[in-house]
């Protein structure tokens, strides 16, 4: 079980969680976690640490999934979080806002002293690429589990990293320029480079604080938003502007170096499926790379790592154009969110390697030892509504939560559980869902199944979008770019588009569920003083409303299955009809589907998750449906003159006051949620009647912000 014992301390790899990249400081062996983890996914090997020197106490300065098995520090709102429970010790570092907790270096340094941690694993985000943090740790004699300060600084500085890359003979993007002081300078630089340009935070990787500008005005706007986001996410508001390459693929190389001058490339990850420059679906390997390109990219990545004496796990990001030209984008000097796919195909445990290397051990592998075994796909499951800009944050309590671990070859890295709160303060990621297989088709098929078997209730989630992406013919063929989502869904994501057959399946399933429910509601247990009249009914004439359509559906009971007539076609629907189970396996004319009935009420409204997408239906008896035509239409609220918050968040700025005249599209206020700033604009030209929020307010989804006359 990879247990090391020295001086009574054990450093244990925690199976599932370890493979997820979680390391725990622990003073005892945690074999149960190991065995749990082994069950969850058996393809990681746990190499022995026996008789090696290790850290006795390790601090994970992070939260959520990445911190799950650690002595995690936490903020007020995370007091009940899984990562806090899993840790042997957990320390609160402040209130919910990240700037006061997970970014609060003073508080974290204090914790390190108090707990006498010998090493710190920063996870990702927060302080993971903060050279000041690494420097302060070094001055305290605490090992930072990551590269040394010099490498963080060199790679964290986009100018320097580019120069270094050039010197190391790494292909770089044209038009690279400097750090930006203000909006005017941003415009000047943007013009020099030539539009379009990409504006992003110097301090952070990934998509956070990154915006694309096509003209001066957008540059100014992008500068303002990006600098604010950079400040709130990284505590560093420096920005960077560079040439934006159209239609690129985002392919990155995982590298790992040690303190003895060795470095390896651990193959690539394809991360082109992004929304708003944040990754959504990742896979390893990429369908696009041939062995030569892979090797060329890998060798350049290693050359760069060696150039900065890189001694940890890191990622060299490239943009790859359609001719397989690749350009160095940046190097992330930390563990990446999507590292599990690399672990899946290489069999390496990156966190373990990071800790070994930090302790001073040389890498155990040679480049030739690094395999590509099978295929792995990762979906980032977010608490967000994919119907709004491919994902606007949603908050709430996970009233029901069940990971699809019963599906084979599935790994779920999460930091939450049933009852967890998704709050406005942090990234809305629920989990990383990883499936693997001997080939891509197998991995994708399992992903489809895993997504269908994932129960997430209480918050909106992006399962529908993920499932649509992974079954889309272009994705299946590997024909993707970072523009995939806007290209495939130019008018926004609208959910799964049902074929006629699928629609019939859905209607038949919904109608069968309705009848099963009706039949059950006549079942009373025990003897009745007045006998319950047994219904002799065997056929139900129903009317099912789905979207704009109303469909007559006839259901006949036939033993334990239902014979359902829809559109003049008969379908046979069988199931156990367990109406309490969150997952329902239904077989419709021989096709097995896993569906979820999310809600139902007495009025016949029901929502069913079918093929990933949630469909709202209303099922009425034919009689009730006919009488429905007499029911009064309820007037809907005029939404053009009121602005409601589309998501929960904090009001950052309000740009109008009562009496102001606003024009259509004009910014009214800015809402920050999950570290993203969102500009709320007027839906029509008019005069502001009332303002119901002020900067600093916390607002919920649907809260009234501003009324126009």
């Amino acid at each position: 079980h990879g247990v090391q014992l020295q001086g009574g301390a054990g450093l244990v790899q925690l199976g599932k969680h370890a493979s997820a990249g979680y390391w725990s400081f622990t003073l005892r062996t945690l074999e149960k976690h190991v065995s749990e983890g082994r069950k969850a996914c058996g393809f990681f090997y746990l190499s022995s640490f026996v008789s090696l020197q290790t850290f006795e106490k390790l601090l994970i300065a992070n939260r959520g999934e990445i911190a799950c098995r650690v002595i995690a520090i936490h903020s007020d709102v995370d007091a009940n979080a899984v990562h806090v429970k899993m840790a042997d010790e957990a320390v609160c570092v402040g209130p919910a806002p990240t700037s006061k907790s997970y970014l609060n270096m003073d508080a974290i340094m204090e914790v390190i002293k108090k707990t006498r941690a010998q090493a710190v694993h920063p996870g990702y985000g927060f302080l993971s690429e903060n050279k000041e943090f690494a420097r302060r740790l070094a001055s305290e004699g605490v090992t930072f589990i990551g590269p040394d300060t010099h490498a963080i600084q060199a790679m964290g500085d986009k100018i320097e990293s580019k120069l270094l890359a050039k010197n190391a003979k790494v292909n770089t993007i044209p038009g690279f320029d400097g750090v930006v002081k203000d909006a005017d300078e941003a415009v000047r630089i943007a013009r020099e480079i030539g539009y379009p340009v990409m504006i992003k935070a110097s301090a952070g990787g990934g998509g956070k604080g990154m915006r694309i500008a096509w003209d001066d005005e957008e540059t100014r706007e992008g500068f303002r938003f990006s600098s604010q986001e950079a400040a709130s996410s990284f505590g560093d508001d420096r920005l960077l502007i560079e040439k934006f390459i159209d239609n690129p693929r985002h392919i990155e190389i995982q590298v790992c170096g040690d303190k003895h001058g060795n470095a390896l490339w651990l193959n690539e990850r394809e991360c082109s499926i992004q929304r708003r420059n944040q990754k959504v679906v990742e896979e390893a390997p990429s369908t696009f790379l041939d062995p030569e390109t892979r090797r060329a990219m890998g060798e350049q990545a290693v050359a760069l790592a060696k150039a900065v004496k890189y001694s940890s796990a890191g990622t060299v990001e490239f943009l790859v154009d359609s001719s397989k030209n690749f350009y160095f984008l940046e190097m992330n000097t930390r563990l990446q969110v999507e590292h599990p796919v690399t672990e899946c195909i290489t069999g390496l445990d990156l966190v373990q390697e990071m800790i070994r290397v930090a302790k001073g051990y040389p890498l155990r592998h040679k480049q030739a030892d690094i395999p590509i075994n099978g295929w792995a796909v990762e979906c980032r499951v977010y608490a967000e509504d994919p119907y709004k800009s491919f994902g606007l944050p949603s908050i709430g309590k996970l009233s029901q939560y069940q990971e699809p671990l019963h599906v084979p070859s599935v790994r779920v890295d999460s930091g939450i559980q049933q009852g967890s709160d998704i709050s406005i303060y942090y990234d809305p990621m629920i989990s990383k869902l990883i499936t693997y297989g001997s080939n891509r088709a197998e991995a994708l098929k399992r992903m489809e199944e895993a997504l269908d078997n994932y129960v997430i209730r209480g918050v909106a989630h992006n399962i529908s979008l993920l499932r649509e992406v992974i079954i889309h013919p272009r994705f299946v063929q590997g024909d993707i770019s970072t523009k995939f989502l806007p290209e495939i869904y130019p008018d926004g994501f609208k959910g799964h588009n049902l074929t006629d057959l699928e629609r019939r399946e859905l209607l038949a399933t919904a109608a069968s569920l309705y009848v099963a429910e009706q039949l059950r509601s006549q079942q009373f247990l025990g003897t009745q003083r007045i006998p319950v009249a047994k219904s002799k009914r065997s056929t139900w004439e129903l009317s099912v409303r789905l979207g704009d359509g109303i469909y007559p559906v006839a259901v006949s009971k036939d033993g334990s299955s239902f014979s359902v007539e829809v559109d003049g076609m008969k379908l046979n629907v069988t199931s156990e009809w367990n109406l309490a189970s969150p997952l329902l396996s239904v077989t419709i004319d021989g096709t097995q589907r896993t569906i979820q009935r999310l809600s139902r009420n007495a009025s016949g409204d029901t929502s069913i998750q079918f093929l990933g997408t949630v469909y709202k239906l209303q099922i009425l008896t034919k009689v009730a449906a006919e009488l429905s035509k007499y029911m009064p239409e309820k007037a809907a609220e005029d939404t053009s003159s009121i602005l409601r918050s589309p998501m929960p968040g904090a009001v950052v700025a309000v740009s109008v006051k009562p009496g102001d005249t606003v024009s259509e599209g004009q910014e009214i206020c800015v809402i920050e949620a999950m570290k993203m700033q969102n500009s709320m604009t007027a839906a029509k030209t008019g005069k502001v009647k009332a303002v119901h929020c002020k900067a600093g307010d916390t607002v919920g989804e649907g809260d009234l912000l501003v009324e126009l006359e």
Binding site: Y630, M631, P632
Partner: protein, 506 residues
């Protein structure tokens, strides 16, 4: 006198609406021979089914309302309705009421019995298309008949109210009809469940029949309940108020507490009533019903371990707890929009109906005040009367302080809740989710004393050591424990000393 005047006004309004042009019942198409008895029966039956005639049916539909018979059709199981008194006609001969065009077989109410999910229910459905659903002596008699039957057999009475008020042409006959109904409402109280669904106007003295029943539900936008309408209000108090503001569903479910729930429209209301009916026993002679249940009774609820915040001042939603422990997360909440600092309603535990009462920390810290005490007390008494076990979730800072509450009589109203719980002999299971009244006892300066007191009593041990609580349980096991206890307590018997009736502080 005032009451009589009120009734007359309402009835006058009814007459104006009811006596407009429109086809009366069809006369027999008399040929040479007079129609045979079977033909006449058939003729009358056809006429009865048409109520006030197609014109008025259309008018009813235009108002967004269904007819009395359509409502029964949706409420009851298909083909289960057995109608009574279809041939009853009013007996008034004044004001030209004896003319054949003013006679409608069945008069202005449809009555009978039927089945809801196979279980027996008695129903009356007032027919607005006949004289505006106004209450004649015959109409009252029909209602009284089904109520008498229901009480004798032991099955609930469901009233679908849609009536302009008293039949003005009948005067005292009509008013006496109300008295007969009120008496039966009272006699049936605690014997069989009585449910009123207000689906149109219900004004004047007529409001007191629903008020005497166990549950009053309303249809949004198309129903209203008030003692006197806006015109009278204007002339007496000079207040300008609309019907909707005065007695609409929103008013009564949020402000007055007169109605227990409101539904979107007729169909929505009737479908919900069917579902609600399944929670109720048929009478006080029957145990709470047990339905087939797919939700495991030993299901652990891990989220309960974290739902209550560690800080005693932080709010959480008691509904989250209720939903998480109830069968299939289903909870039929009663008065969801009124006195929201207390939550009451029906759920099932392992299939068995239970009444749930919970403080709601999310609203006014879950304190008890006048309205929440009365809301809770009435619900508890219903459950006790009909053998429905009570599950109480306690997290209460205490009674709400202040002059408004003291002057309003929080002492006597609060006493109702104590009385109701103490009087109840059904199985009672209480789960204390957080705290008692420490924060109320100590306010302001004595911080040290408070800390000491909190340390001493704001934890479960003092109560557990003295045996005031039976056990301290892991929150995630709550459902399992409750289901288990309910099984054991199903055979509970407890009797009170003989009395005519208790004297609850009203």
């Amino acid at each position: 006198m005032a009451a009589v005047r009120v009734l007359r006004r309402a009835a006058a309004a009814a007459r104006l609406r009811g006596a407009g042009p429109g086809p009366g019942p069809h006369r027999a198409a008399s040929g040479a021979r007079p129609p045979s008895v079977p033909e006449r029966i058939e003729e009358k039956r056809r006429a009865a089914l048409l109520g006030g005639g197609q014109g008025r049916i259309d008018a009813q539909h235009k108002r967004g309302k269904l007819t009395a018979r359509e409502r029964i059709l949706l409420l009851l199981d298909p083909d289960s309705f057995d109608e009574y008194d279809m041939f009853v006609e009013h007996r008034c001969s004044d004001f030209g009421m004896d003319s054949s065009k003013n006679k409608y077989p069945g008069d202005s109410v449809v009555t009978g019995r039927g089945r809801i999910n196979g279980r027996l229910a008695y129903v009356f459905s007032q027919d607005f298309t006949v004289f505006g659903g106004s209450l004649s002596g015959a109409h009252a008699q029909k209602i009284c008949k089904v109520m008498d039957q229901a009480a004798m057999v032991g099955a609930p009475v469901i009233g679908l109210n849609d009536s302009g008020g008293a039949r003005i042409q009948e005067g005292v006959e009509s008013l006496a009809g109300y008295a007969d109904i009120f008496l039966r409402n009272v006699l049936c109280s605690g014997v069989v469940p009585q449910i009123s669904l207000i689906m149109g106007p219900c004004a004047g003295g007529a409001v007191y029949s629903p008020a005497l029943t166990d549950f009053t539900f309303m249809v949004k936008d198309t129903s209203y309940l008030f003692i006197t309408g806006p015109d009278v209000v204007k002339s007496v108090t000079n207040e300008d108020v609309t019907q909707e503001q005065l007695g609409g569903a929103k008013t009564h479910t949020t402000v007055s507490g007169v109605a227990h729930r409101a539904f979107e429209n007729d169909i929505d209301a009737l479908l919900n009533l069917r579902e609600f009916f399944n929670y109720l026993p048929l009478s006080n002679r029957d145990p709470a019903p047990v339905c087939e249940c797919h939700d495991p009774s030993d299901r652990l609820v891990p989220e309960l371990d974290t739902v209550v915040p560690t800080e005693s001042t932080k709010a959480y939603d008691m509904l989250d707890i209720i939903h998480s422990i109830a069968d299939e997360r289903e909870f039929f909440e009663i008065m969801p929009s009124y006195a929201r600092n207390i939550v009451v309603g029906f759920a099932r535990m392992n299939g068995r109906t239970v009444g749930i009462v919970g403080n709601q920390p999310k609203v006014a810290s879950g304190c008890l005040d006048i309205n929440s005490s009365v809301k809770g007390a009435r619900f508890v008494r219903f459950c006790d009367a009909f053998n429905i076990p009570l599950i109480t979730f306690v997290d209460v800072p205490g009674f709400l302080p202040g002059t408004a509450q003291e002057y309003g009589g929080i002492i006597r109203h609060g006493a109702k809740l104590l009385f109701a719980f103490a009087e109840a002999t059904v199985p009672k299971i209480t789960v204390i989710t957080r705290k008692g009244a420490v924060q109320i006892i100590f306010r302001g300066k004595e911080a040290d004393a408070e800390a000491e007191y909190v340390d001493k009593f704001a934890n479960p041990f003092p109560a557990a050591m003295r045996g005031f609580v039976d056990d301290i349980i892991q929150p995630s096991t709550t459902r399992l424990r409750i289901c288990h206890d309910l099984d054991v307590l199903a055979s509970k018997t407890q009797s009170s000393p003989w009395k005519k009736h208790a004297n609850i502080p009203l």
